[in-house]
Symmetry: C2
Subunit: 163 residues, 2 copies
Amino acid sequence: MKSVRGGDAGRRRRRTTVAVKQSLRELRNQLSLLNHQVSARLTLKDVDLDCLELIARHGPLSPSTLARRAGLHPATMTGILDRLQKGGWIVRERNPDSADRRAIAVRAVRGRNAELFRLYSGMNTAMDELCDGYSEAELELIAEFLRRATEAGHTATADLAES
Amino acid sequence: MKSVRGGDAGRRRRRTTVAVKQSLRELRNQLSLLNHQVSARLTLKDVDLDCLELIARHGPLSPSTLARRAGLHPATMTGILDRLQKGGWIVRERNPDSADRRAIAVRAVRGRNAELFRLYSGMNTAMDELCDGYSEAELELIAEFLRRATEAGHTATADLAES
DNA sequence: TTCATATGATATGCTCCTCGTATTATCTGA
DNA sequence: TCAGATAATACGAGGAGCATATCATATGAA
């Protein structure tokens, strides 16, 4: 709460905050465009890659959990997983000693990552170069900001979904 | 180039860089999920909202230019613009004194913004509170980082699209 | 236990979207 | 002047998303 009502410093601060939010929206849009190109190369849909990332990041998940997280219909998730499985990006596993024998675990296939990595290599090296221009402390500040913004996005999405 | 090969500082720095990139991917994904919820509320497709943002940000554009920017087929753009126009989010205008009389200018409708703003209000206030925790200098550092990352994404996308 | 109900995953069918191609109008250059 | 390129859109084929149905399994109450 450092802004001062009506003061010059407060006005400038608000402008900067707006700039941050706008840059964030534009960045999201641009990264989605990048995702779109990568998806097209793999003959996948954009949403397929989104789900693959969720699976890779948050471990083995059930289709229904995944559908809830992605805000999609369970039947839609079946189609998405079919495409990902056909492409060899994921496997569906029945866990015999699971508490619920109806449940299925979806797991990302290691070894296909190199292929993905190659498509993202342009962005990856550009980001490495960009990060090179910042100090360690600055990078940690940025990473923390990104994490908190993600958390804010998560909350906002959940609020919107359930209301 | 501040990293030192093999040194402890270099290792830590690489870890932080990786953390930044990973946070960025996760943030993109989460913000796309938010976009998905907002789109659903407006009975629009995710890509419609993406295009609307491009139109609003980069002024009046022709459908073909927009299609190229979004990496979509021109015929697909016609469908997107039909939906956006039917919803009253954009207008198609023929400019009589334009150099090219085939060209059409697509313009975002002012006045619908409040509606959009309301759907994003949760995220918006959360971002305001998040930004409140940073100094003016820190915010400017973050904004600049986001802009450069966007630029990097733009280049990487273009490279991928034309190769 | 026994049964009603809920839930997980998927199959089916309908609607709508995307994209290749064709069409029409217009521009550009030889 | 006219052949070819380009802008926007129409049209049709193939496919995606979702509501619903289906089947197996789980859960809770009597």
